[in-house]
Symmetry: D2
Subunit: 330 residues, 4 copies
């Protein structure tokens, strides 16, 4: 059997969630250290992605490192919070040059923390970049802001990998980095080697992409720096537990990764608003483990032959047999 | 010219917004009294809908009444907050009988406040009622919870009107009161005269309804207790300023209301996350005023004749002529 | 093990498909008799639903009966074609009284054929009823057309069951019978016992309903007269092979049917545009058979207990275990 | 006042429509010559885009040229029908090399006709290219088919411009050329100067793009070879009359074109299934003319300043004032 991948999770999986209705939160506040301890309880996590600044803001990186160590957790990514109040009208595409500079500074700090904690990449989640209304922006201008802002970061920190997590919308009504293709196009315009994509399965799915196709594309352009999974109803980023709604496309996504020889972390980005966060992470990992087994069970040769004919019925049958049998074997 | 309608707004229009990304809010905290003063600045608002409990929670109703009075504002509705942490797994459909009782209590308190402030109705916004995952609920059971819960409230307060604001989703992935038709069906099952619908134009639009059709249906069943407007991109409840994206369907919606003789408040339910809330309200009212003028300009006889033939091109031309000319006249 | 259900299919599954691009069809023309022979080749079909008029139009019902007999097929429904050119501006809601009468006549003929062939119901697929543009119709008027038209049919043929197949849209941009709830509401207004619903899983799914919830509702109102299944990407009625995209919700749908004691035909409504139609039917039946086994394997008691707590993780785990194991056992 | 643009229409606007329900068509058959005469009746059309092969297939190009001349119509594009039965499993991405060659041949013939009739470009509408089911295709393989197929055409006919009309889906469940960004990425990979984009406003809108943004992007990459407009409900390619649902985004789209100095044909791609096709074209042109006037009325300087601040309320107000006033002036 193929060795298991390393499993990871965004640390926010274990944090308090807030939205515009439950403004008092879907549970009590959780500090960074507490969230790390919760992540440690999952039992199968090897790495986490950490929001920065930490919570509370003053918390020393060394303390975080200690907490990680005692929980036997590594760090796959650092996610600077370029989407809070200060950045609510945009980080890279903010109309105010001072905020764009502030974005540069906060990401720069995150680069330092990433280096200190040995993260693979700094993740950029530009959820406030874009626009809300028709006529609100000059689209060429915000393209320029986004491309030059990222490029200058990439050049300032040539040893750091920056992974853009694209998404069609939310919190911005129309996000700038909205799809795999648009992000790759913008990265091409940046013309730097160290900016890539963090592909979120759910963002891709509800954006109308085939996540397997998006993964293939990002890999073929040499830009798949990371990925994470979850599920939704194809209309919004629900961040449900992975595999609970769309197990077949999730399987196809992981198949594309394996076929391309991609060997990064298999990561969770779930928001269990109303569930126990540790239990939800375990469920997500259990689903990923099923898929890992299914990949070993898959008759790849027969599948490739069916795909060569674009024979949907044959290919689907081969895939279902492997997926469903694998679970039973578990 | 037909006399202008009374314009209203949900008081949350002027509050602080929070979401799962900008957890520190899209602006500073705003108390109920401050929000009332902001509403007063708009200049054209006659009434507001107030969240309850007030902010801060201890605030006396008499103080609220004073603030309303000095701003020359009446109260159209009271909206008990049955969607905060306590109710995050459901209010009426919560699996825990204690929370269902707590829902009854909080709504009962709101009935008292509504009475004290002279509101037209208590609005029920059951955003946490429903489910998130396949297999999570027994659908017959939550139907029963919803119907019996509402019925017992309606019978306990026969003098009070309760207006259900339906919506397909958010915050719950799948809301129980999801459409006009399903809400009317459930109200029929309740078999009480004092439960009706608060029709939110945006909820209807992104739920795939024709808002005009939904309004007609609710009126024909004698259940349109209130309405509010905003706009979105048909994929989510963006709560944009009314008329900024879909002015034609907004016009058709108000046309249906006038044709049916409905004469309630024309209300705003906007969330100007990144805009000045007073200015956004003024814009929304300016759009509604344009539509009010357009209704006067509309060649209703010709429109009815075109509709009788279901002649889309003729009907559309008549409507566009009225809408666009009215604005120019403004 | 629970006895297997009877499997069925719409006969159009085996016909030629045409759309606005491949106007020469996705394959050669297929007559009704040829389609019956194809259905017979599937091997596991017990019944079919037949379009009427037959193809070619003059074909005698006795000949159809012979073809069915030699293929060992019964008839579950007759579907009068109230959606062709003649009815393209509506059948029941057509602005022209002559076309509304013609609808009555064609359906009446179908009643005769249904009786002759021993069908369970006449299926009404009012795909052209509704509207396309804002302002095109008077919504109260078309409600009245639809309700009175159906009511008069139901009263004219009190021994016949009429099953309305609702759908949000296509071919009409906005269909009148758009959801389970709206159809139930209209049926209530008809006030006749012999009009019900044909619930198409795919219509429900892409209409934003939970198909299990819709089935429960139709059954609780005593109106689930038939159902069929297929799959899609939740944005359109793709009519893909059942279970190829959303096996979990399909399982939940059949679970709801069994829990309610519903024992009708398990029917396919697939459009294999680019696949072999016999093979596609076999695949769909294979998936339904897997689900049938999974229902037997399901720990219903534990599931009910989890649903009673609305415990999404526990319920999902129980369901996945049954579904995936069942397939493996097949 | 700025001189009016040339108005155009796809000739299919005046043809017979067929779909999978009204298989006998939404009206009687229409030949190419009859369709040209209908286009001539509109009165304001300067150019058309012609499907090829003509209808009936044997029709001589000279006869078509005569018909165009007597109707005073030029030719903007030729659209080879690479989406009929023969190509239903794909044109450029078909698994069968013989069909891929046949695609090359048919497009080559269209190049000859385009040259003969003086068309600006050959339009490629690859509606059957892509996939329907998970696991059906090897995404890298079909990328390669699409890129090499288009590249070889472009190199074989270096004097001809090829305009790809992208769309998310329909008839294929998932089209290969699905968005502006993905099409630009693939064009970049082709590395030829004479392949570009035909931007359909409706495709962009229901694909979740901002059409103005997509236009800007295509122009900035030097690849906007053509465009056409229509409207829809953002969930499907309804091809409604332009401006009947989304006049504001249509206005923004034309604003982006003018700001970029793009001066091509303003073209209609409407499918008036249930309306008179000549009347529907006149309505669409009337809407475009209103927008043309509105562009002249627009306070561009103030708008640019508002966009520079990303001030949604101010920008929207400026745009609405121009759009609505322009109509009134008409």
């Amino acid at each position: 059997m193929t060795p298991e991948p390393r499993y990871g999770a965004g640390l926010w999986h274990f944090a308090q969630y807030v939205d515009r209705y439950a403004t008092d939160g879907y549970g009590p506040p959780v500090t960074t250290l507490e969230a790390i301890d919760l992540a440690g309880q999952v039992g199968d996590l090897a790495v986490v992605d950490l929001n920065f600044p930490f919570n509370p803001p003053g918390l020393a990186t060394a303390e975080v490192a200690d907490a990680l160590k005692r929980n036997n957790l590594g760090v796959v990514g650092i996610t600077p919070e370029i989407y809070t109040r200060e950045f609510c009208r945009g980080a890279f595409t903010n109309p105010d040059a001072a905020v764009r500079r502030r974005t540069f500074e906060l990401v720069s700090e995150a680069v330092g923390v990433a280096s200190e904690l040995g993260a693979d990449y700094v993740k950029l989640w530009p959820g406030q970049d874009g626009h809300d209304y028709p006529f609100q922006v000059d689209h060429a201008q915000i393209w320029s802001y986004a491309v030059t802002g990222l490029r200058s970061l990439a050049r300032a920190f040539p040893e750091t990998k920056f992974a853009i997590e694209y998404k069609p919308r939310e919190p911005r009504v129309s996000m700038f980095f909205s799809s795999a293709a648009k992000t790759l196009l913008a990265i091409g315009d940046m013309d730097v080697p160290n900016v890539g994509i963090l592909l979120d399965f759910g963002h891709s799915l509800y954006g109308g992409e085939s996540p397997a196709d998006a993964a293939q594309l990002a890999i073929d352009y040499g830009r798949l720096f990371g990925m994470d999974v979850n599920d939704n109803l194809r209309g919004w980023d629900d961040d449900l537990v992975a595999g609970t709604v769309h197990p077949i496309e999730l399987f196809e996504f992981f198949y594309a990764l394996r076929e391309c020889g991609w060997d990064g972390v298999w990561q969770l980005d779930q928001f269990p608003f109303r569930e126990d966060s540790v239990e939800a992470a375990r469920e997500g990992i259990s689903v990923m483990r099923t898929i890992h087994r299914a990949l070993d069970a898959l008759d790849v040769e027969a599948l490739r032959a069916a795909q060569d004919r674009q024979d949907a019925l044959a290919a689907g049958k081969i895939a279902r047999r492997a997926l469903l049998g694998a679970q039973a074997g578990g």
